[in-house]
Amino acid sequence: MLVRRVWPSRPAFDSPFGGFDQVRREMLRLFDAVAGETSGDIGAGAFPPLNVTQDDENFYLRAEVPGIEPDELSISAVRNRVSLAGKREIPREHDRVSYHRRERAEGSFNRTVTLPMEVDANRVTARCADGLLTLTLPKAEDAKPRQIAVRT
């Protein structure tokens, strides 16, 4: 019988941390499975795919929007919600052509993301370059965590 070894099942006695290593690997694999590294990403099926990151000052929302004219995008932000809507159209080819591949999709889209914190909607900026949309969403001043000094 053929046994496929999904992962090293060899007990790692050669290292005192062998056991930990195994647990660590198991955890990483589970995280990967949850994060969608191995099976389709979260939010699969929704266009466009979004990434949201943050630093101390801002949230950054990035979306892959190839072939979409920047003025075809409608972006709105209110409190802690950001909406992104638009339409992707693929221009018709006029001359008589025969298609070999037709994989690029077109249609409309509408996505809303709820951020973990309110943003200052007046200062949101959007930039679109090379089919990549980047929104910079400054965190609202009163929503930012405040450092509290402990008196002695």
Binding site: G40, D41, G43, A44, P49, L50, V52, D56, R101, A105
Partner: protein, 136 residues
């Protein structure tokens, strides 16, 4: 695939690829979605490559093998931490075998809003010629 206007667009799952010569560059490799069509005079390739800048795009035509490679530089800076992640930037890579002989000197490539439009004109002798039949 529904292409009627007004339909909701579906996210095309980025297809990971295993390339024949394995890549040593770290990071995922994706197969870009393409439209390919031809008429009598040329073959046109349209490829979605979001995040690829023109200087990071490499188009190679060798024998009849067309290779597209587009590298994506991650846009995040080191101080940012993830809140939501639905895609992972990576390299776009795809190869096509072209049946017609291409006039290399007249190849034209244009990258607009993350979409590559590659015009590959056929050389004169590869174009179909209408032959009129004479009657005596």
């Amino acid at each position: 695939m529904a292409r009627e206007a007004g339909t909701e667009i579906q996210k095309a799952e980025k297809a990971g690829v295993l390339t024949a010569p394995e890549h040593t560059r770290p990071g995922p490799i994706y197969s870009p979605s393409v439209d390919i069509f031809e008429n009598d005079s040329s073959i046109t390739v349209l490829a979605d490559m979001p995040g690829v800048r023109s200087q990071d795009l490499n188009i190679d035509l060798r024998e009849n093998m067309l290779t597209l490679t587009g590298r994506v530089t991650p846009a995040e800076n080191a101080k940012e931490s993830d809140v939501l992640r639905e895609y992972h930037p990576g390299t776009f890579y795809r190869q096509f075998a072209l049946s017609d002989t291409i006039d290399r000197a007249k190849i034209d490539a244009k990258l607009t809003h993350g979409v590559l439009r590659l015009e590959l004109p056929k050389i004169e002798k590869a174009r179909p010629r209408q032959i009129s039949v004479r009657t005596d």
